[in-house]
């Protein structure tokens, strides 16, 4: 099964750029004591991710309806967000108010949710052939 589709790649690129912009904005706002700006950034970042997920997810399903219960998009999101967060600290771009411990905790707890999602994906895969739902394949 071709898991890394064109729409997933466009989503990954958009998410990557959004995550870089968010991390930069977050560290800059905290370092400059613009604490109110953090809320605005977080809300904007939430809607940005929701929209790109909706847009590329829908296009991906219309192109080829892979029965993966959203796992591929979730995995890419998890991988990129946590990689960028860790890279941000290793390059020393974080503000003094950010903690690496929080980054690890997010990776661990989110990772647990990702594993549960992976189990659901494996269960769903049993109802599929090459990632396509057996029920819909010859509809």
């Amino acid at each position: 099964m071709k898991a890394f589709t064109a729409n997933l790649m466009y989503f990954a690129i958009s998410f990557f750029l959004g995550a870089i912009a968010f991390h930069y904005g977050l560290s800059y706002s905290l370092e400059s004591n613009y604490f109110d700006l953090v809320w605005i950034l977080a809300i904007f970042y939430f809607f940005f991710n929701f929209l790109i997920g909706w847009h590329f997810g829908k296009k991906d399903y219309e192109s080829i309806p892979l029965n993966d219960v959203g796992f591929r998009f979730h995995f890419v999101t998890y991988f990129l967000f946590n990689s960028i967060s860790m890279l941000w600290f290793s390059l020393g771009l974080n503000s003094q108010y950010e903690s690496l411990r929080v980054v690890y905790l997010i990776a661990i707890f989110w990772g647990i949710i990702l594993i549960i999602h992976f189990i659901l994906y494996l269960l769903e895969r049993r109802k599929s052939i090459n990632g396509l739902s057996k029920e819909d394949l010859f509809e």
Partner: protein
């Protein structure tokens, strides 16, 4: 009059259920007939089914993408009629095996002498 209405309603309901899943067989038959692009498949299905089956091009593209994904159909790009290149679809070896096995198990039954007689029998 009432019975005619009931017959029409029952027939429409039965046909609606019966036709679900039939499109795959018609697409496969059209490709067994030879390589075709989407509009040719659409024409084949509508003509050969005597317009009992209709399909939209968009829905055909979507179905063919799924069939290609599971490896029963593939395409080659060929020149279009004065326009852009077209995708000419064909059945892969797996697709041909699938169609033949499906026909042997599900369609050939209707050519059984007893069933043929029953179908042709006057009430």
């Amino acid at each position: 009059m009432k019975n005619n209405n009931l017959l029409a309603e029952l027939l429409a309901t039965w046909e609606e259920t019966y036709k679900k899943g039939q499109l795959t067989l018609w697409i496969f038959l059209s490709l067994k007939d030879g390589r075709k692009y989407v509009d040719e498949i659409k024409t084949f299905v509508e003509e050969q089914s005597e317009n009992t089956m209709t399909c939209e091009s968009q829905s055909l593209y979507r179905t063919l993408r799924k069939f290609k994904h599971v490896g029963v159909v593939d395409f080659e790009t060929g020149s279009g009629n004065k326009g852009p290149d077209r995708k000419y679809y064909f059945l892969t070896e797996l697709g041909l095996d699938l169609l033949d096995t499906f026909i042997q198990r599900n369609i050939n039954l209707f050519f059984n002498k007893r069933i043929k007689n029953l179908i042709n029998k006057e009430d």
